[in-house]
Symmetry: C2
Subunit: 440 residues, 2 copies
């Protein structure tokens, strides 16, 4: 990996994609951990080693519905010569007061119920007459409908070894074992284990709260009327959805007009609920590039250490970018270009890794693959810029969709990958193996 260019690289430094990304990843820090209820911690990263406080299962228990008996009492039993035992009662799951099973006796036992004292093994109900005095049965009748099943006599048709159909205490995990290591991402099976060992809350890094804000006086909200010179705001929707996809809690502020004071006020208002701010538009070289104007001001007036730097990247699309931090908590801010495709590609390359870094994940990037280019003609790419082309990936081959124009949002909706054309390539012939980013 290359090292980040110095933050003082100056306005004329042309940043490489890697330098910009390295600068972001070197700056953004995982969020402080908090204690969350299990289901609120889904998808989060654990920050503590979890030790098993009590062995699982916590007691010897039956793995079958059947009868708890002594081994000697069923030795040599067969359907022709069954062992007849006195049923002394039921042992249900969750039962605390256990009867004692003596010689010649059996307790009817349910799956998960503790093995009662005196009993040495369990015979499944299917190996017995179920107390009905006839042939083998397939199950028990409901206890509420047939209380008599817990008394009388049962005939056992097969012998059982000691501790057959018994799950031993501690056979799953033992008290003191490490259940999960710090750094584990909590999916359903990990949540299952935590609940099983009695943990109702855990210390994790929370999901980052990401505020998404688009800028541009030309932007109108969907379903409103489009007047001359206007277009619909799509970036705030796309990036809010993409931020959620990356694991964040995302808030869409929508479009702010090209006025520095309004933008500054809006950003200051939103800071309270932001672990990361993302803006689109207003970062280029125009006379109304309001994000640049508003945040340069913030850098002067705010706390020391804050400040957003606007850069040119050796990249297509996505050349103009801003990165820095704002406000008293030095909240990281990524200022993306306003073209829908530029902002989406920038999100995938820079914002998604930032979100996943805030979450404490180590695997912060989209997966990449090598694929054979399928195309009618060579791809062209500007020398000195790394190009990202929308494409479809299937089984080791990749096909571009749509053109290179950064406004071609229709093609983006058909794409599931980005072809990476390196800085030194001006042309890529069909059949060439290329690198692709898989958008998943």
């Amino acid at each position: 990996m290359s090292t980040a260019a110095p933050r003082t690289a100056g306005p004329d430094h042309l940043w490489s994609v890697d330098e910009h990304l390295d600068d972001i990843l070197a700056t953004v820090r995982p969020l402080e951990p908090i204690e969350l209820h299990l289901l609120d911690a889904q998808g989060c990263v654990l920050v503590e080693d979890i030790t098993v406080p009590v062995s699982l299962p916590p007691f010897d228990n039956s793995s079958m519905d059947g009868y708890a008996v002594r081994v000697a009492d069923v030795a040599g039993a067969s359907e022709q010569y069954p062992a007849a035992l006195e049923v002394v009662g039921d042992v249900a799951a969750g039962q605390a007061d256990l009867l004692h099973v003596g010689p010649g006796q059996a307790a009817r036992i349910m799956t998960g119920a503790p093995l009662p004292p005196g009993a040495e093994t369990v015979v499944p109900v299917e190996w017995t007459d179920g107390g009905l005095g006839e042939g083998p049965v397939t199950g028990m009748r409901a206890g509420s409908l047939d209380p008599g099943g817990a008394t009388g006599q049962v005939r056992v048709h097969r012998p059982a070894e000691a501790r057959a159909h018994v799950r031993a205490k501690g056979s799953d995990v033992k008290a003191g074992d490490r259940a999960l290591a710090a750094g584990t991402v909590l999916g359903p099976p990990q949540i299952s284990l935590l609940a099983a060992i009695g943990r109702g809350t855990v210390r994790v890094r929370p999901r980052p709260r990401v505020v998404v804000l688009s800028t541009g006086s030309e932007l109108v909200q969907p379903d409103e009327e489009l007047r001359s010179g206007q277009i619909y705001d799509s970036n705030s929707f796309a990036l809010t959805a993409a931020a959620r996809d990356a694991g964040a809690i995302a808030y869409r502020v929508g479009a702010v007009a090209d006025d520095a004071t309004t933008l500054r006020d809006t950003i200051e208002d939103q800071l309270v609920r932001a672990d990361l701010m993302v803006t689109t538009g207003g970062v280029s070289v125009g006379a109304y590039d309001v994000v640049k104007e508003a945040l340069s001001y913030a850098a002067d007036e705010d706390e020391p250490g804050s400040g957003v730097e606007f850069r040119k990247l050796a990249m297509q699309p996505g050349k103009p970018q801003g990165f820095g931090s704002i406000g008293p908590d030095h909240t990281p801010l990524l200022a993306l270009p306003g073209n829908p495709v530029s902002s989406y590609v920038s999100f995938e390359l820079f914002v998604r890794p930032a979100i996943r870094t805030l979450m404490g994940l180590t695997d912060v990037h989209r997966p990449r693959a090598r694929a054979k280019l399928t195309a009618d003609r060579p791809l062209t790419s500007p020398r000195g810029r790394r190009q990202f082309l929308r494409a479809r990936y299937t089984d080791g081959t990749v096909t571009p969709v749509g053109g290179a124009g950064s406004h071609l949002v229709a093609a983006l909706a058909q794409a599931d990958a980005l072809i990476v054309v390196p800085e030194d390539a001006e042309s890529v012939a069909p059949g060439t193996e290329v690198e692709v980013v898989l958008l998943g």
Copy 2:
């Protein structure tokens, strides 16, 4: 695919995994579509073809910050012999009233702003002196700080072809084109496109609401004190998390004691917010298998057509299963076994596809792969039952973790795949290629 066994197959029919799954998929129907706001529709399936109402971009506009000029006025221009043009004003993005660019004139234009009448092409600001009367500039000064930039004279250093740096109206999508087809899953790029063409709401199948309820008098909630014979409720947590993972809105009811009336009342209470109900425990052959008892009652007393059937599957873990529908809306219900591993494996095989069918997805199953078995000794499996073993999958090889016992939840938390051992195999030697379900 095998066909589902008849629902009247009777209590002695041993169902194959495929028969049970086919029965579920043949019964569960996609939810009725509703109109949702774009961001609420994320991850949902579109049920309508979306046609583009207005071409994108809706007007010819500049792809650069620069000057809108006539081609003849900049023909032959160079840094040594620049074309000097009168700046007649600014054209900002979103501007409705456009000035006219006549011969010898230029309008300062911003990215995304409409190409003003009279202008034929755009020269980027970097090809000009920016109106400062010196060498080439790298950008414009903010309009608010330098109103004079919109007047005076600009020197252009390079010629431009007609419509250079102009994005033509309709070059992205044209009015009448199909933007997205019914059946599309709405991810961030699709949401981007819908917003861009002005769609604020869309008709989709909503996320299913899944109510998860565990049963067992032995169950205690995490963080409470564990008494003799009790264990912690983990299934309701695991399956709620897994249902969310599958795309559902999941509600965890928690554990209900083994009492048929309480369970029936709880289920009836919950029906109002359920598109699918999932229970765990109480489905086997014991005397306190309360789900079986409670839902057999529901089948007798409820609407015609309702009813839950309890089955034995040729499967390990997960032999006892219930499936059917309950209540006036015939809400589908899957009754899973109570062992944590059995219930989790059953969820992956049966509930997840049911949830994704409710969503209207066509890709309802976990991906599968072939992998080479790495193990110290052969795997053993009961003849006639399809076994699912927890395992770790890496690059075409798969290694079992933990034992076959269905209570080994610790091993489940280490697994990312299930090895499928077919019904006719009793032993699988290391090195054999096996089928695996990737849990992702």
